[in-house]
């Protein structure tokens, strides 16, 4: 096991990670894996040549606009589009009556019509679609659609939604689903414990705020439809459009365009604009573009789910955890979407990386007339992590214990049984992340410094907070039917390589990882590998690009294809080098034989082509089946786990209540960093996005409508808000497996890599909330910790009645 350190951020830019070369093993990479380098798409994005959806033009292109419901909950009696149709420049108008297939875009449950028939359930519900020759005309026409609607009472709070007599968002009531974990006897444990810590946590909505808003273009052609767009999951879009238009999947092709960020917000959601554009393209017979502006994007697209978490944690006086009882309410919004799957992960993750023998968790998903909950980096885990990490810090405080020490005492170790009853196969790197974060932050000295600062009084107070997580890598057992993942590799006769995958590059660096894995296995340079845009016509359905699964899944699929190609190239190489197959080594663009003999990879490719070798390969990877019982929440929910510890040093200004993160320390178990710069970029980005969630990002929602659907008032962090982020990477560097001790095997990615996209964010909000709570000496359990919230605590205890400036008092 090796660790790398790297520190970066506004104040420490340009420092490179300290590299410790991993121990050689059978699987240790020899080429580009683990080396510094550029992203393969960096130049195109910097010089402006990358073409995003809004850069694309088609002949006869039309522009779409939508008429949405003015009311958060209403009975729609009549929709009259005659005036809209008469606006000059309008080419097509569509309502639910025009849908040739099913008027349905529900991703998991069929509860969401694309277009309102008789009932509007939130302000984003679509009533009519317009296609016109320019965007302004389309918008003007949308405004003159006449809608007769009777307002219905709405419900905007999960607790109220469950009360008897609450307005029902759907027939059948507002409770959608329940998940649970039942292990041991939590009730008894709570009764017999020396201490019970109980808090109610509120994790609010969060907007993805990707740089590029949602956008698609639908191009109709002889009974088929092609969709271009900014998205994470082309196969979801393909199914949605096929269902809406009543077409076989073979007639719907989806091509992902360069995607300017997604963070989960382009998982299920792009099916909606894609279906709108497709329906209008179908009706008009012309290509239709539908690109959101920022306000529309924030108002209509999905958000991180708002969750209310009641958490009771029982322990012995010596700090040993005995039991946990956790109630989670998840606000789905008006439709289910991915809520059930998010809730399933929240449910499983709610206890954290701790040994807790008695567990009772209940997670309920609930309809309201609020904004629509969906996938967002962490997928339900950041919310429950806020709670379990808040509880650990609260318990440490109660028992007068060091927070890191208390975590160490209760940490899951190899062969320990996790909350969901799984005996964990080694390696379990949680303790290593705790130790690395402790070293990185200079924990004990830093704590003493913080205490000294606070004793001295003055305008600011400092606080230190810890956040830890155990992230189930890739899809939950509940979604394992979607886990198979494909790749297509081709070696051209000049030795260059084309790679296509079924998952997507959305800014996270997938293309670079894919190019590196292909280059590593084939022994070529990274820039010899061209990664193609993801296209449903090229690669079989590979499931969604989510759950930090791209590096493990697409990585394996690419490695699998590359190994096949290697075998197909070997006869040519042995011919040229006059040696046996097992004597050939492919690396760095050369095929090497015994005794310093070598030929260029390009010559091998040319010879193989001459010999009529099949120089394309289709790779496929599916992790082993997992056993999981939904009724009890017990079993093996994930293929592998990634651990993380993050520590925040925060400062609170007593004059204003403004909290900011001064320093941030991250220790992550990544298995293997295939692209270390990319890994560090993900960690910095995830951490800062988590800080935004903790401190400044507040959606102001009234009667289901977002009042600050803009970047003036919805405040995401700027570079001025990004502190120094120090990083330690823990690389155990093998693909894992059963060591014959009765544990399920860990299925990691190629070269032992684990996903990092989400673990980078998950503990950050908790670490920040804990640090601010530490600074104030009061447990803050609701995010975001905006200055007015903090100030209320300051004012309550009159903490601001100190001299702000030293010498003024004298």
């Amino acid at each position: 096991m090796t660790a790398r350190k790297r520190s970066s951020g506004a104040r420490a830019r340009g420092r490179r990670p300290r590299r410790v070369v991993p121990a050689r093993s059978a699987l240790a990479p020899t080429g580009v894996v683990g080396r510094p380098g550029l992203r393969v798409d960096a130049l195109a994005k910097v010089d402006g040549s990358a073409r995003y959806i809004d850069d694309l033009r088609f002949p006869d292109l039309l522009y779409a606009a939508v008429r949405t419901s003015d009311l958060p909950h209403a009975e729609v009696l009549r929709i009259d589009v005659t005036d809209a149709q008469q606006v000059p420049g309008v080419v097509a108008v569509a309502t639910f009556r025009d849908v040739p297939g099913q008027n349905q875009v529900g991703c998991v449950r069929p509860d969401q019509p694309l277009l309102v028939e008789t009932r509007a359930r939130w302000v984003g519900d679509r009533i009519a679609l317009i296609a016109a020759t320019d965007p302004a005309t389309a918008k003007a026409a949308a405004r003159v659609v006449k809608v007769d609607a009777v307002p219905l009472p709405g419900v905007f709070d999960v607790e109220q939604a469950l009360a008897t007599g609450a307005p029902a968002v759907h027939t059948g009531g507002n409770l959608i689903e329940e998940f649970c974990i039942e292990r041991g006897d939590a009730e008894l444990a709570l009764r017999q414990a020396d201490v019970v810590v109980e808090h109610r946590y509120l994790a609010p909505w969060q907007e993805h705020a990707y740089l590029e808003p949602q956008g698609v273009i639908a191009v109709p052609e002889r009974g088929s439809m092609t969709i271009y767009g900014s998205m994470q999951c082309p196969f979801y879009v393909q199914s949605a459009v096929a269902r809406l238009l009543g077409l076989p999947l073979s007639r719907v092709r989806v091509v992902q365009t360069v995607t300017g960020g997604a963070f989960g917000g382009k998982e299920d959601y792009p099916s909606e604009p894609a279906c709108c554009a497709a329906l209008l393209a179908h009706k008009s017979g012309r290509p239709v573009k539908f690109v959101y502006n920022r306000e529309q994007d924030i108002q209509w697209s999905t958000k991180r789910h708002r969750m209310v978490i009641q958490h009771r944690l029982a322990a012995r006086r010596d700090g040993t955890l005995l039991g946990a009882e956790i109630e989670i309410l998840v606000d789905a919004g008006a439709y289910c979407g991915l809520t059930g799957i998010v809730a399933e992960r929240a449910n499983t993750s709610s206890v954290g990386p701790y040994l807790v023998p008695n567990v009772r968790v209940r997670t309920r998903t609930i309809y309201t007339n609020n904004p629509f909950g969906g996938a967002f980096r962490g997928f339900g885990a950041p919310q429950v992590t806020l709670a379990h990490e808040g509880q650990l810090d609260a318990l440490a405080e109660r028992l007068g214990r060091d927070p890191l020490d208390l975590r160490r005492q209760n940490a899951l170790r190899p062969y320990a049984v996790a909350a969901w009853g799984e005996k964990l196969a080694p390696p379990v790197e949680y303790l290593e992340t705790l130790a690395a974060a402790e070293r990185l932050s200079g924990w004990s000295a830093l704590r003493r410094q913080v205490e000294a600062h606070n004793r001295a009084g003055g305008r600011t107070r400092l606080g230190l907070g810890v956040g830890c997580c155990m992230y189930g890598s890739c899809l939950h057992a509940g979604g394992q039917h979607l886990e198979g993942s494909g790749a297509l590799l081709q070696v051209h006769r000049d030795g260059s390589v084309s790679a296509a995958i079924g998952l997507t590059e959305m800014g996270q660096g997938a293309a670079t990882v894919v190019a590196r894995v292909a280059a590593e296995v084939l022994g070529v340079a990274v820039d010899q590998v061209e990664v193609l845009p993801t296209d449903t016509a090229l690669v079989p359905d590979s499931g969604p690009t989510v759950a930090s699964r791209t590096t493990p899944m697409a990585g394996h699929a690419v490695a699998n294809a590359a190994r096949q190609l290697r075998a197909q190239l070997l006869p040519a190489a042995t011919g040229l080098l006059r040696c046996r197959a097992n004597q050939v080594e492919l690396s760095g663009g050369w095929a090497r034989g015994p005794g310093r003999k070598k030929v260029a990879f390009a010559d091998v490719a040319a010879a193989a082509f001459q010999a009529k070798a099949h120089l394309a390969a289709s790779g496929w990877y599916a992790p082993p089946r997992k056993q999981f019982d939904r009724a009890t929440g017990l079993g093996q929910p994930y293929s592998a786990y990634a651990y993380a510890t993050q520590i925040a040093l925060c400062e609170v200004d007593l004059a204003t209540g403004v909290a900011r993160v001064k320093k941030f320390f991250c220790a992550h178990d990544v298995g293997r960093a295939i692209f270390p710069d990319g890994v560090c970029g993900q960690i910095e980005g995830g951490a800062v996005q988590g800080m935004g969630y903790a401190l400044t990002e507040r959606l102001v929602v009234r009667d289901g409508r977002i009042l600050n659907a803009n970047f003036t008032d919805y405040l995401i962090p700027t570079i001025e808000d990004a502190p120094e982020v120090a990083i330690a990477l823990i690389e155990s560097g093998d693909e894992g497996g059963d060591k014959g001790r009765g544990t399920a095997s860990q299925a990691k990615g190629p070269f032992g890599a684990k996903g990092i996209g989400e673990p980078s964010l998950i503990p950050a909000p908790a670490a920040v909330a804990n640090a601010v709570s530490h600074a104030l000496g009061a447990r803050l359990t609701e995010l975001p910790l905006l200055p007015d919230v903090i100030m209320a605590e300051i004012a309550r205890r009159n903490l601001d009645n100190v001299p702000f400036v030293e010498s003024a008092a004298t």
Partner: protein, 301 residues
Amino acid sequence: MFVQSVVRARSEVEAAWLVYEGKPATRLIAGGTDLMLQLRRGQRQALALIDLRRSGMDHILENEHAICIGATATVAALAQHPGIRAHFPALHTAAATLASQQIRNLATIGGNICNASPAADLVTPLLAYDAVLRVRRGDDVREVPVDRFFTGPGQHVLTQQDLLVEVVVSKPLPSEGERSRFLKLGFRGAQVIAVVNAAVSLRLRRGLVAETHIALGAVAPTAVRAISAERLLRGEKLTPEAIAAAAEAAVDDISPIDDVRSTAGYRRRVVRNFVRLALEEIAAQVAAETAHGSQRSRSRA
């Protein structure tokens, strides 16, 4: 309503006459960093725009008595001006921390004033320094003190035919010993509209407060002066007690509201703390200068 035409004024005179003869639904545009957003959101309408950026009104002229700032001088230019930095530190700080570099390069002082946002960052310092605004109608120029310029959120005394041409801030005499501070509260590190801003100027004579202006933004329909706090301070020594009393009094001079950014109660608390903080900083500066001065005279002796 969409903008159909844009006319670019090539001089102050041309701008003044274009405005004077302007058709209805004509608006002025300088940096456009307020107006473009408002047009896009439908908060303001215009059929025609008069573009002021090439009208040559972007001068910053300094003489013995005053600094005259042209209405289209950019916020970036203000932030870089050594005279403003030396004589009007609150205005300098407000300009240097407004939005972000990209916005500062476009945004103008005239736009900041004429947009008449109660949260505008340059306005509180201008109030603290008693700035005078020069307004032109055709060939007539009149002067309006900044504290009589604003009439409500987004509203001011200019008519459709008026053009703001220049902002004049008079320099204090060195003997007046003026000190000033600007404080801004936004909820993140940059690119943020103030939830509260404050500018305080203060003159001491023989250890007593001779004059002080305390201007507060985003806590009333327009930026306001904390008149009762100022009154309490005049003639007093800058003791912690006097400072605390003034800070409490300032809370009664404002009328904040709840909005998407924050709450009235929170703004009151911050105003109290900001007034105290600014005055404590000034007191500390005075104390440091006095200590430094007496040290110097001692070493000279």
